[in-house]
Each structure stands twice: as C-alpha cells, then as structure tokens.
C-alpha cells in the first residue's frame, strides 16, 4: 500500500471523514482550554470534571433511551456546568483539603453514573462509548454542535484573554486590580466543562484529561509565550486527532486510545528534543532566597 493509498483510503468512508473533522476540532479546542489547565495546575480537577459528567449522561440515557444522542449532549452539558460550579465552590469552602474534596465528588459521581447505566439491560457497549468515546459514530448534527460550542468557548477565551492570563499568572496582583478573581476561576471551570462535553464523543470521559493536558504540555515545552503555546498546542492536538484516527483505522486500535497515544508520543518526543525548557529552565528558575 502506497502512502497516498494509506492516506486516502479512510476518506472513502463518510463516517471516517466526520470522525476526522471531529477529532481535529476537539484536538484544537482542548489544547487552547487545556493551556489554562496546565498553567494553573488544574489537571486533577479537569479529570474529575470529565468523570463527574457520567451520571448526567446516564440520566439522559435512562430517560431518553439510547436512540437519541442529541439528548445526551444536553444532559452532559447541564451536568458539566453544574459540576463545574459545584467544584469551584467545594474547592474554596470545603472542610477537607481541596484535592480530597474534588476526589470524593469525582469518585462518587463516577460510581453513580456507572450504577445508573448498569440498570439498563445490555448497556455495556454504551458504557464503553461514554468512557472511551465513539468518534466514528459522530453525525453531521454532532459536528454542528461541536463547531457551535467549541467556537463559543474560543470566543469567550478571546474576549477575556488578558484577564484570564493575569488571574492565572499573578492572582494576588489581579485582585489588587479589582478583577473578580472568583468570577474568572468559575469561568475557567465552566470553559473546561463545556470543552469536556464537546469532546466527549471523541475520547470519552476516561481519556479526556489526556486531550486537555497533553498537546498543551507538548507546546509548553517548546514555546515561551502563551499565544504560541495555544496555537502550537492546537496544531499538536489536530495532529494527534487525525494521526490517531489513521492509526485506529489501519491498525484496528480503539480510536480514543489511538488519539491519546499519538499525543503522548508527541509529548515524549518534545520532552527529549525540546531545546530550552528542560535544563536551561531549571538552571534559571532556582528560587534564590
């Protein structure tokens, strides 16, 4: 099989074309939002947020049945936003440490979701789709939802860009500028939540974290300014989405896993080859007090 055939063959299938479009869009979106996740050290929160959506999906699944995917999107979106606001609240006011509180919510919600899905007979395939995505099942309507909500997230990031950067870099200073740091914290959580729901069909809740942090971290290793980190991260995310689906098609690997593996491979390459981040950084940064 020539390289051209290798590249062209999947495109003969409309479901592959839709899948590639979805994976590319999700790869780009996750990297932009994921840049904030990486820089603010919110990886655990992002993972918890993704897993906590499961009961919302399960409720939509139990009530609407497996026929209508569109209903699941709205159930997922509603749950995600509620969970994001709830976690924002818990992480500030909890009686236990922040990560402990998030962990309890995470585990409890995830278990609740699995319990609810398990009540529906013959649901194991659907559960697998929720957990690991079903990018080849993306419909034209799904693509529209991805474009609309993904585009919306990017517009909000662009509108609040300078404030989001300031509260992430130096929250104390941002507070002296009278920026409502609490509002921006919740805003970032909600942006992550919407991103997770938009990306759900591609990689599922189980591997969502990888899409949020891996391409963005790869870009972090090789860039020095946030706009280029986001742009390059988006490129890496698109490459991982498309490359992963090709691997999935030709090697018969689960699509979500293939996408994540390609993005992790990209990260490892950057980690080895990155010109400055590794050694120089360590030498310069050492806190001299």
């Amino acid at each position: 099989m020539s390289l051209v055939e290798w590249l062209v063959e999947p495109l003969r299938y409309p479901f592959m074309v839709r899948g590639l479009a979805a994976a590319a869009a999700v790869g780009a979106l996750c990297s932009v939002v994921g840049s904030f996740v990486v820089l603010r050290g919110m990886a655990f929160l992002g993972d918890a947020l993704a897993h906590s959506i499961l009961p919302g999906l399960a409720a939509g699944f139990v009530i609407a049945g497996r026929g209508d995917r569109r209903v699941l999107f709205w159930w997922g979106l509603g749950t995600a936003v509620l969970v994001a606001l709830g976690m924002g609240w818990v992480s500030q006011r909890g009686k236990v440490r922040e990560d402990t509180a998030i962990g309890i919510v995470f585990a409890g919600m995830f278990a609740l979701g699995i319990a609810m899905i398990s009540t529906v007979r013959g649901s194991s395939i659907d559960l697998v789709h929720f957990l690991f995505g079903n990018v080849l099942g993306v419909s034209g309507g799904d693509l529209l939802l991805i474009a609309a909500f993904g585009g919306g997230v990017l517009i909000v990031v662009a509108l609040f860009y300078k404030e989001l950067v300031a509260v992430s870099f130096d929250p104390v200073f941002a507070a002296t500028l009278r920026l409502p740091t609490g509002f921006y914290r919740y805003l970032i959580y909600v942006l992550v939540a919407v991103t997770v729901v938009v990306s759900l069909q591609t990689v599922g809740v189980g591997l969502m974290l990888a899409m949020l942090i891996t391409p963005a971290s790869t870009a972090y290793l090789v860039t020095r300014r946030l706009p280029s980190m986001m742009a390059l991260g988006a490129v890496f995310g698109v490459m991982a989405g498309i490359g992963g689906l090709y691997l999935s098609f030709h090697l018969g690997i689960a699509s979500g896993a293939a996408i994540v593996l390609v993005s992790v491979a990209g990260f490892l390459i950057a980690l080895v080859l990155a010109p400055r981040r590794g050694l120089l950084r360590r030498a310069v940064r050492g806190p001299r007090r």
Partner: protein
C-alpha cells in the same frame, strides 16, 4: 470608564476618586485574622503621600499580612484602613508586588506581557491594549532599563531584573501606592542597589511606597519611616527613634545581635533565625 452594565459584570469597577485632604495611608488600630489565628493586632500609623515606609520585623511578624491588608486583599477584623480617604477596595492605583517565590516563573509570558498587565484596569474589559498602552509599557521598561529584555520569558531574567520588571508594571499601572513584599530577598548586592535606586526614583512621581524588608540598615537609610512589627506594632516613626535597642529586642528577641564599632552600637539581626518563613499561604 463606561457605565455600561456588562463592564461592571466583568469586574472592572470605576475606581474611587481620591480625597485630596486625606493621608495616603491611614491605619487605625487594625487587627487581621489570617488562617483562623490573629496575625496582626494594634496597628496604627499615618503615611502622607510620597512618603516611604519600610516594614521590618522577624520572619512571621506579619509583614506580608499587613501589605495584603493595605492592598485590600485581606479583610481587617477590627480597625480601619483608609487609602487616600477610602477603604482599600475600589482603588486601581495600588500596585502590589508579591514575593518572588509566589510567582510561577515558568509561566509562558514575556516581560512586556507582565508589564502590560499593569494596564488591565485602565484598558477595561473586552478591549485590547492600544498603541498608547504599548507606548506606556515601552516607557516603563526603559525607565527600569529592561528595554532589551522585553521579549524574554520571565524566568530567563535574573532576580534583580524580575523585581525591576515588577517596578515597570507598577509604573505602567500609573499607581500612587506601591506595596512591595521583600523586593531585596535573595538579590546580590549589585541588583539590590539597582532595585533600591529605582524605588528611590519613584519619589519624582510622588508615589507612596511601602516595602517589607529584612535589612535594617537599608530601612534606616532609604526610607522616611519605619514600622517595626512582631504581630503587634512595636514602633513607628523615623529610624533613629524606632531602631532603639529595647524596641528591637522586643521584636527580634534573641535573634538580635549587636557589635560595637567605632564607639557605636551596630544592630545585626539574623534573618534565618526565626525558623518558619512568613505566613502560610
């Protein structure tokens, strides 16, 4: 600043107008509870516009807490703080610089980006920085001699350059009050002198400056007033008055060492003596 309601929603509130007859900082019997325990009590002083105040005291004395309270970041549990006649919340003229250790220096922002953050309050929401803002940033950078490093990632700067960058941010912010937490910590002598000279140069702009310090000699030589803290206010006034052995002893306890030199008593305090560093975050 536009009165349009969505601006308010996004958090850019119109700044308060300074009262011309009020002192720059007026603190009356202030206590602050931090992390559930009293961090400061009985703080009272007045600072006129353009005066320089050094806040000194052993580690954990409450210096950072006081600066945060002055910036309106921590609520007072009793007493009042007035900045130019108004409570600290509501000003956009307060420039606060945290300790260097509180910043993630790997964050992918360039020096000019950080200085531009000083303009955010003036630019307002949903707007991008204009040419005039970039001009201000350029001038601020050249005032602290960082012109050539504007495009560098912040972690590539030396400690002294990082502090100069924050001074440039305060300049870009057009602040009237600079609150600087331990700007000299960890700097070598040359960078220390540069930073001090730049802080001194703010006198031309009639900026009121409050700096938390460890070095008593610097506090005495470069500042109009000193505030000696150890959870409570031990002394406030000129360095000659406050740096008096009984007062210093009550702040530093056994950490205070003295040597006799040319017939004068020189006070030395051991900055590492008091164990635990500052307030827990």
């Amino acid at each position: 600043m536009s009165p349009r309601p969505w601006r308010r929603f996004a958090g850019h509130r119109a700044p308060v107008v300074h009262r011309p007859d009020a002192a720059a900082i007026s603190v009356e019997n202030v206590s602050v509870v931090y992390g559930g325990r009293p961090a400061l009590a009985g703080i009272s002083f007045v600072l006129e516009a353009g005066e320089y105040l050094a806040v000194v005291g052993p580690n954990g004395a409450g210096k950072s807490t006081l600066l945060k309270a002055l910036a309106g970041l921590l609520p007072t549990s009793s007493g009042t703080i007035a900045i130019h006649g108004h409570e600290p919340g509501g000003h956009v003229c307060i420039a606060y610089v945290p300790q260097r250790s509180e910043i993630d220096w790997r964050f992918p922002v360039a020096v000019a980006d950080v200085v531009m953050m000083g303009r955010i309050g003036r630019i307002g929401p949903f707007r991008r920085a204009g040419t005039s803002d970039w001009d201000i940033v350029r001038r601020a950078l050249s005032a602290v001699q960082l012109d050539g490093l504007a495009g560098r990632q912040v972690g590539e700067l030396s400690g002294g350059q990082q502090q100069r960058m924050f001074i440039a941010r305060a300049l870009a912010q057009e602040s009237d009050l600079l609150l600087f937490d331990e700007p000299l910590a960890g700097l070598d002598i040359a960078s220390r002198d540069e930073v001090l000279a730049l802080i001194g140069a703010l006198r031309e702009r009639a900026v009121t400056v409050v700096v938390a310090l460890h070095d008593l000699a610097v506090a005495a030589s470069a500042f109009d007033r000193v505030l000696l803290l150890h959870r409570t206010q031990i002394g406030f006034g000129s360095a000659e008055r406050v740096f008096d052995e009984p007062l210093l002893r009550s702040a530093y306890g056994s950490c205070l060492r003295t040597i006799e030199r040319d017939g004068r008593t020189v006070f030395i305090h051991d900055a590492g003596c008091d164990g635990g560093d500052h307030e827990p975050r």
